[in-house]
Amino acid sequence: MKIVVCIKQVPATTAEKRYTADHRLDRAATEAIINPLDEYAIEQALRLQEAGAADLVGYLSMGPQSAAEALRRALAMGGDEAVLVTDPALAGADEWATATVLAAALDRLAPDVTLMGMASDDARGSLVPGAVAAKRGLPLLSYGAELQLGPQGARIRRLTASGHDIVGAQPPLVASVTDQVGEPRYASLKGIMGAKRKPLETWSLADLGIDAEALRGGALTRVVEVRAPERKPPAERIEAATAEEAASRIADWMQARRLI
């Protein structure tokens, strides 16, 4: 059983995001990390490998050359090999272009299970797992709180408002998992050192037989505007000399709004 985990390099969650003139994230200006939601997919794949349910875990990423760092970091957590698809024509790729490229790379890697995080921390489109499954004509098990692989096939447990659903399918398939799978591990020192010796290949669009023209500039959609959230009015401060006076003013305030 071969699992390929698709990961995305994103700006650090806490980093201040900068945008280019055409509303694209300036990736060079910010510290980059593995998309935190993808780390859960990595953790899930490694747990399946440790349990003997998978014999090979590979990683696939599409992004700029610097995304190789994210793949090395993933290899430091565990797993066996990684592929980066990078091409200047992919700058500004949207979910459709990303899914097209990932699907082509996955055709070559031919995993039994393609595993992804439920969304990316930067774009949050949540479309890529479904789009990749659709392009490759495979079943999709989405939003799993857990993925199980066994003789009966693959199953995910998906949390619902009233409990959970168990959804199954036969590999090859695409699955996405949530942050319920368990805390992602830290890379150990031996993992970091061992990762340098693991194979990491770089493929271009030409390697995948994709015509850059056919990607139509890498996107069917475009970002029209980037806006900061609207500022809320400042909180009203109540300052009083004594606790009693403060309490009575808070009570008045609440009463005026029919809160008490």
């Binding site: 020192l189 993992g191 970091i192």
Partner: protein, 396 residues
Amino acid sequence: MTYRPTREHDELRAVVRQLAEERIATRAAEIDATAEFPWDLKQLLAQQDLLGASFEERYGGTALDGVAQAILVEEIARADATTSLIPIVQKLGSLPIVIAGNDEQKERYLPRLASGEWLIAFALTEAAAGSDVASNRMRARRDADGYLLTGSKRFITHGSVADLLTVFALTDPALGGRKGMSAFVVETSRPGFAAPRVEHKMGIRGSPTAELTFDEVRVPEANRLGAEGEGFRIAMSTLDVSRLAIAAQAVGIAQGAIDAALSYAADRQQFGQRVVDFEAIQFMLADMQSRTEAARQLTYAAAAQVDAGSREVAYWTSCAKLIAGDTAMSVTTDAVQILGGYGYITEYPVERMMRDAKITQLYEGTQQIQRLVVARQLLQRAGVPARGNEREREAP
């Protein structure tokens, strides 16, 4: 001798920093308040292979270079000085085995120390013999079955939690500490060994500093490191290298205090502006950071000297520990000043850092001993014959 921090060093720093911020910094205040050894963090460090960084690969270690080892200690100490002592003391206690042990002894002990399955402590200091190591009194009497160790040790970091000790005891009292002392590896499970008391300390409070007693503890000859009488040399060679980790610890404590002070000053408003906007505060922060950076770079330079097998290892590690320890003390004191009253209370971490910093001026050779080592080298280079208290100049 030059050194060059590499991409690998940056990567190691990033990984250890994340681990330290998420898992260690969050425990630091509690460890300090309860003064309990953080077994959970020892387990975490072992699991992440961070206790084996100094050990050779054939013993299960990762054999990191000196700069990388310094970065590792620095980043843990930035979050919590107590926890940084776990890898520091693991190396300190193991160095006598690495320096003087034979292959069988290395095979027997190093793999379980590199993995963190066992903890080790370095038992040299005695109540009446601190800086003056040659005044040690603990005895190791030889008989047909090996040695019987009798006496006591004091101020032994991790002495009460260790599975193994490297112990220094007189095999020939007539020759004195310098010529008559030998080194032994002692399993703490041996009958007659006890750790009856743990000190109450100002800082590094989660790191137990124990008094150890040996009542006719039987140790086989196979546990002696090197030849009889080599104990003093082994101890000094150990400290020449190990004190570099204290320099790295001091740099980490200082950086932690700067980062805490900066974050506070950027948030705190007084007189209608952020505290960090006052030039007086910016100047303090700039001084703190540049001194810490100087101490850090000196520590890395010393690490490269150790790696290169320099003949002046003691000089370099003493220079680094002297500068880094004094920097940690002054920087943490200034950090408390920047936080004002908030710096003095346990709600913020800088008072703990200030208490922790003090120990870096005291252990593994006081700052005064470091100055003696540096001065000795200075005089030697200049061809000036040294005079004065011979014993003092031989001290660690």
